[in-house]
C-alpha cells in the first residue's frame, strides 16, 4: 500500500499570509493531483501534475511535482478566507489501472 503523508495536518493563518503544504511518499507516482474539499461536499480537483519537476500555477496557488515524482508541494500566496478547506493530494499508480491513493489531508483555516 502506497502512503502519502501530508504536512502540516492543520494550519490556521491570517488573511494575507503565505503558506506551503507538503505531500510526501516513498513511492513513485505517474501523476499527482491536488483536491480541495469544503465541508459537506466532495473533493474538487485543483490541478494534475505529471512530469518530474513540473510547476503549475493557478492564480495564487503554485503546485510543484518533485523531480523523482515522489513528492509535491502546494504554495498559496496572500491567502484569502475563500482558501479555507481541506487540501488533499492524490497519487496515481503507474500501470494499466487508474488507482488513486489519497494523502492524509491538510486542514487550512484562513482568518479574516
Amino acid at each position: 500500500t502506497q502512503l502519502l503523508e501530508q504536512s502540516p495536518q492543520f494550519l490556521s493563518i491570517q488573511e494575507g499570509e503565505n503558506l506551503t503544504v507538503y505531500c510526501n511518499s516513498s513511492s513513485v507516482f505517474s501523476s499527482l493531483q491536488w483536491y480541495r474539499q469544503e465541508p459537506g461536499e466532495g473533493p474538487v480537483l485543483l490541478v494534475t501534475v505529471v512530469t518530474g519537476g513540473e510547476v503549475k500555477k493557478l492564480k495564487r496557488l503554485t503546485f510543484q511535482f518533485g523531480d523523482a515524482r515522489k513528492d509535491s508541494s502546494l504554495h498559496i500566496t496572500a491567502a484569502q478566507p475563500g482558501d479555507t478547506g481541506l487540501y488533499l493530494c492524490a497519487g496515481a499508480t503507474p500501470g494499466g489501472y487508474q488507482k488513486v491513493t489519497f494523502g492524509t489531508g491538510t486542514k487550512l483555516q484562513v482568518i479574516p
Partner: protein
Amino acid sequence: NAGVTQTPKFRILKIGQSMTLQCTQDMNHNYMYWYRQDPGMGLKLIYYSVGAGITDKGEVPNGYNVSRSTTEDFPLRLELAAPSQTSVYFCASSYTPAGRNTGELFFGEGSRLTVL
C-alpha cells in the same frame, strides 16, 4: 449537469442491519470508486471498478460488497453494519483516455452513515 449522484445523503443504521448506498453517474466514465472518509482523515479506497462487470478491492474492503452491472451505476452494499463503518462515503468516477492513466476524479456529495 448531474455528474455523480449519491443517495441517501444521511442514514442511521442499527448494528447488524444491512443497506445499499446508491451511486450513479451520467458522464459515461469507465472508472468508478467508493471511498470512505473518517473525521480529519483523507480518503480510503473501498472498492473500484474499471468497467461494467469488473470490480476489485481497494484498501479497506472488509464488510462491503459492490456490483457494476451497468456503466452508470455502482452500488455499495453494507452487510451486518458495525460501528466501525460509521463514516462519510464518497462515490467517484473518472474517464481514462486511451494510453494514459491520469484523469480527474469527479465526486458525489457524500453519504453520511452512522451505525449505532
